[in-house]
Amino acid sequence: MNMRALVITVMVATMCCPLLASDLKAPATVVAGTDFVIASAESQGGTFYLIGPSLVSKREVQNGSEISVPGDEIKSAGVYTALLCSGAGCVSTDFYVKPSSPARLSLLAHPSRVRVAEPNAISAVALVFDKFRNLVVEPAQVEFQAVAGEAQPISQSRTAANGIAWIRLTSGKKEGPIKVGAIIGPAKELRVVRQVASDACNLRIKPEWAAGKFYVSTDPVRDCSGNAVPDGTVVSFTKTDRSGKTTVDAPVKRGIARVQMPVDGNARIFVASGVVTGNELNVTGKQ
């Protein structure tokens, strides 16, 4: 019998025998994955159907008064319908399978990169599941932990409501990875959020002459918390002299950006990184 025929049979039987429904008795709630028994006034055997959110089963039972249902058949939480059909007709009952105890976590940490010293910039959301991946909607305590570098872990407890618990964190002042974790029962999940330097602060340039060539280089480029901006950050140098204007977008390498520029007469040099501007330099080139 295919699934469609089975469902039609069950629907017809359910409609034909509403008055007999009370003859089949199941516990009001059952925990997912646990064995239980459905009692019936019908001592004769028959065909037993179990229809759940993700499973439909059918089997012949010899003793209709006590039907054993193995835990394997009720892994998914939700409303189930049990149906027993024999020569005398069909009887049915509904029962609810609730999730078992918390055993798994899904942890969503956002963003994956965050600037240092940003208030409430990191959010961690934990979703609590049982071992069969049912969302545990009953209140449960979730322990959140945050560990930055070698520092002591900070932990806070939150009660999950409808299966969800969350926390917001302020990023630290020092760049580097921060590990954000959530623990409930045996389940533990860990995510890593990178704390990165913010915009450059006090961007300063200085002139250099080497082997007859003129170079401009920055002091070590740092943000306002003292973190070095990551290598590859672009620093724009603009020089104006009597030959015209020169612009170079140079990436920071080993903490500083350095470019070679020809200078013709008196030159003014500006520096910027993103929307941050630095000092101005006035130099005189070789005449």
Partner: protein, 369 residues
């Protein structure tokens, strides 16, 4: 009778060859072979260039022995995967500037059809009388090449490992880069509306970006949608700023209630190399009387940049972006060898320009970013 068919086929073939020869400008080439005027000498040279017949073009010069063939071909036909190697000289216009009995100057406007669209080049040719004929005198010079050397390149490169399809839901991934439009300006041009401005990569990783704009009518419905296409630097390193320009041909600013901007960013592998300096920038008027921004590009890295693309943003006295222009450079950028560029600027915008900023996109055949 049995020879009629073969004779007919032979005659038709001959006729078709003659037509093809005429179609390809053979008659014009023959007529100009005499080069009795400076114009004809220039046309003859450019016709040979058009046919990429470098030997004949070289032999038609007044100073054939002084001209380095590699330099000549590089100048007119490109090399090292530059834009000219993906271009054909579609047509040219020639007109005399001045002439005397022995010498003349002829100006030519070369119209190239390239892989990135049409490209115009204006050149002045010196033409000399040689007996009864005239010949173009090509500027002698060797092709500049970088000296043999080792250039250490140790700039950063970023690679990306994303979450796999087989990973469970909620498993960590890396976020897209954060980019921000820092300025936007809508302009009415004679035949179009132009949206332009600047965008910055605020993140600490490179971003592939694209800016789109939707014009909205007074009733809130969308009127037109476009994106910046190649009028932007698509790959932005951390804290790098790019101008963008979006054109809406045939649209009037008075019909627009508002503009919805959309900046999209993606995580891509990228390299901080090469670094290209833009030297000697100045606003000038070109020989055709148009305002242009000229300068020189200097590749400070060790790898050849095949096709450089110059993007210039112009600001008024208050620092607002009032125009964005771009142009592809037809020569490749060899390491440490300057190459000139020029991008045009509308005549009505030029007087308002107080400042400008030039950035360079680069396309290299050996790596894509």
């Amino acid at each position: 009778m049995k020879y009629v068919l073969s004779i007919s086929i032979g005659a038709v073939t001959f006729l078709l060859i003659c037509i093809a020869w005429l179609q390809s400008g053979g008659l014009a080439r023959e007529r100009m072979r005499s080069s009795r005027t400076p114009d004809e000498a220039t046309r003859l040279l450019l016709t040979q260039v058009q046919a990429r017949n470098w030997d004949k073009a070289l032999s038609s010069l007044a100073n054939t022995n002084d001209v380095d063939k590699a330099s000549f071909v590089h100048d007119l036909g490109g090399s090292n995967g530059s834009l000219l190697t993906y271009a054909t000289l579609e047509k040219f216009d020639v007109w005399p500037l001045h002439a005397n009995e022995q010498q003349a100057t002829v100006r030519a406007k070369l119209h190239y059809s390239t892989a990135v669209g049409p490209l115009d080049d204006v050149r002045d040719f010196q033409v000399q009388r040689a007996g009864d004929t005239w010949k173009v005198s090509w500027p002698a010079g060797k092709l500049e090449k970088p000296a043999p050397q080792v250039i250490p390149v140790n700039y950063l490169r970023w690679e990306v490992i994303n979450r796999g399809a087989e990973d469970d839901w909620g498993v960590q991934n890396v976020d897209s880069p954060q980019v921000r439009i820092v300025s936007m300006n809508a302009l009415q041009r004679p035949d179009r509306v132009v949206i332009l401005g600047e965008i910055v990569n605020e993140d600490t990783i490179p971003a592939y970006i694209n800016v789109g704009a939707t014009l909205l009518r007074a009733d809130g419905n969308a009127m037109a949608q476009e994106n910046s296409f190649d009028k932007i630097s698509h790959i932005l390193l951390p804290k790098q700023v790019s101008p963008y320009r979006i054109d809406f041909p045939g649209v009037q600013l008075k019909d627009i209630k508002s503009v919805r901007m959309d900046a999209k960013s993606m995580l891509v592998p990228a390299s901080a190399d090469p670094v290209i300096a833009v030297n000697r920038q100045r606003l000038e008027t070109d020989p055709l009387g148009k305002k242009v921004l000229r300068g020189e590009l200097l590749n400070q890295s060790g790898q050849i940049v095949n096709i450089p693309h110059v993007l210039a943003s112009y600001y008024d006295g208050s620092g607002k972006v009032i125009w964005v222009s771009d142009g592809y450079v037809d020569q490749e950028l060899q390491p440490q060898i300057p190459v000139s560029f020029a991008v045009d600027l509308p005549d009505d915008i030029a007087p308002k320009v107080q400042n400008y900023h030039v950035t360079v996109n680069h396309f290299s055949s050996s790596h894509t970013s």
